[in-house]
């Protein structure tokens, strides 16, 4: 009986939490809808128009011509960054002298705002997808690389010793000791990289291209198609949110052991 009551109670608080969390966004959207309903402002059209524009423009007409190419560039760039960043990061993390030596160069490269290279990248690589993908790689690689180096270097010496005494070497050592131990930091770097990546993706579509989400939003703005512009902005917001949720799922799986350890340490 007591057990069931406890579950009941937990369910109730859970529902209450969800309810509380939803008040503000639902209220805000409702207020936006109501307040903008009679809006004659050019810049702030009624929300109903924006929703119509969202449905007409983005569902699903421009999906294959604009949304997919954008996301494809992002995914490819992010993937390359992860492979290169983690690979090179592990290598440098295991060679502290080299890592120290190249640190200033890497810090400098990280400090270059990726978008500042767009004009040069267009001149160098043309206006194809390669330009955009390379820029995304350039923007996202450094946080992953630098965090991986830090993570690998911070491995507990005792863990190294234990691995040594159990004669765990080679690939198994990398896969079972080094990568897991560094993974919290690697994942943190990837999270930073993802938000930089989305930003670079949109910026890279604002010039020298004729498709992509960023291009569509900008051309809507240039032709004063304001509802379409708002629709694009909302779409970007939704994409950003979904990517974030997807990443959180990934983090949940990859760092499961780490959460367990921290709970253990806390109790």
């Amino acid at each position: 009986m007591a057990f069931r009551r406890a579950i009941d109670f937990r369910l109730k608080t859970r529902l209450l939490t969800i309810f509380l969390e939803l008040i503000l966004p639902v209220g805000a959207v409702a207020a936006w809808w109501a307040l903008s309903a009679g809006s004659t402002s050019v810049y702030f059209p009624p929300l109903s128009q924006i929703v119509t524009a969202l449905r007409e423009t983005w569902l699903f007409e421009h999906w294959s011509t604009d949304v997919f190419p954008s996301l494809e560039n992002l995914a490819l760039g992010f993937l390359v960054s992860c492979l290169v960043g983690i690979g090179l990061g592990v290598l440098l993390g295991l060679l502290p002298i080299v890592a120290d030596a190249v640190a200033p160069v890497l810090e400098f490269l990280r400090a270059v705002p990726g978008v500042a290279l767009l004009p040069a990248a267009i001149l160098l690589l043309g206006i194809g997808a390669e330009t955009r993908i390379s820029l995304i790689v350039f923007g996202t690689m450094w946080p992953i690389l630098l965090n991986t180096i830090d993570g690998v270097r911070a491995i507990d010496p005792m863990v190294r010793d234990v691995a040594e005494s159990y004669q765990i070497r080679g690939l198994g050592w990398l896969r079972r000791i080094v990568l897991p131990a560094a993974s919290p930091q690697i994942v943190a770097g990837m999270r930073t990289a993802l938000s930089v990546g989305i930003t670079v993706m949109v910026f890279s579509e604002l010039s020298g291209t004729t498709n992509g989400i960023g291009f569509q939003i900008l051309s809507a703005q240039r032709s004063f198609a304001v509802p379409q512009m708002w629709a694009g902005m909302i779409l970007l917001g939704i994409i950003g949110y979904l990517l974030n949720i997807a990443f959180r799922g990934f983090e949940h799986v990859v760092l499961r052991w780490h959460r367990g350890m921290r709970q253990l340490a806390r109790s």
């Binding site: 939490t17 190249v102 978008v115 040069a120 923007g139 949109v202 970007l236």
Partner: protein, 281 residues
């Protein structure tokens, strides 16, 4: 080459080992290696451009950049561009700080506010600030106001989130002690909550600073707001690639300097906390 000198300073500052005579030797050797690495990188860049592997019409070589930088840095236009970027960037960060910290402390301290706002903040923070470029352009045109709006929107969330998080991390024992000593609200905020949350806020500021430089340069590059980004566009359009690269290098140096300053301030201000930082963040 002045750029080399500026770049290699961090390695000296970052090491932080106690300065004994052997530690000094180690430090010197480390610096020497770092300088060597910089020289190798610059040489590779130079050779890449000179040999034609990298198209000279797109990428300037280090010597070209150095040659272009000399006359450029005596010009007013250069400094006003750099000043414009620094101004909108620092103003944006300051405004975000003023919004984010009080709000973060408030939300973090109240369970009800926390629950009420959690989903909304989570959603808003994932909206890439670039999404606002068209709207900001429409409302403000190609001005520094436009850049400012973007910067504030991009940097307010990491700071807000970090300060909320920081308040949540106040040690329960310290909280009980404060209650036992009957701290007043003022005391509780300034002597318990803010100090406990400050490492987290500092991290938020650092994340925001990097992101907002990207946004500032982007807003200038594509929105035409005055500043370094705008100069990059102008120089590219006139085909003056070395000068364009001077601006690219300057933007990177800016990011580097700010990051260094923030890390140093953080380290100095939070010395008492450094042991905990390494495990908790």
């Amino acid at each position: 080459m002045t750029a080399t000198e500026i770049i290699n300073r961090p390695s000296a500052a970052v090491g932080g080992a106690p300065i004994g005579s052997s530690a000094l030797g180690l430090q010197l050797r480390r610096i020497a290696y770092a300088v060597a690495a910089i020289i190798v990188a610059l040489a590779a860049w130079q050779i890449g451009v000179d040999s034609g592997v990298v198209n000279r019409a797109a990428v300037a070589s280090p010597t070209d950049i150095a040659r272009a930088a000399g006359p450029l840095i005596t010009k007013n236009g250069f400094w006003s561009a750099v000043g414009a970027t620094v101004r909108s960037w620092s103003e944006g960060l300051a405004i975000s700080l003023l919004i984010a910290i009080p709000l973060g402390l408030l939300i973090g301290a109240s369970d009800l506010f926390y629950k009420l706002t959690r989903f909304s903040i989570d959603f808003l923070r994932t909206i890439p600030a670039v999404a606002l470029v068209p709207l900001a352009l429409l409302l403000y045109g190609a001005t520094d106001r436009m850049a400012l709006v973007l910067i504030v929107f991009g940097s307010v969330w990491p700071m807000l989130l970090q300060s909320m998080y920081g308040v949540h991390q106040v040690d329960p024992i310290a909280r009980d002690v404060a209650r036992a000593y009957r701290f007043r609200r003022r005391e509780r905020i300034f002597r318990l909550v803010l100090p406990s949350a400050s490492p987290f806020i500092a991290t938020g500021v650092r994340i925001a600073a990097t992101m907002s430089l990207l946004l500032a340069v982007g807003a200038e590059l594509f929105g035409g707001a005055p500043g370094i980004g705008n100069e990059i566009t102008v120089q590219q359009q006139t085909g003056n690639i070395p000068v364009m690269f001077v601006y690219v290098v300057v933007s990177a140096l800016l990011g580097l300097v700010v990051n260094l300053v923030l890390i140093n301030v953080e380290r100095r201000a939070l010395k008492w906390h450094s042991a905990e930082r390494s495990t908790s963040v």
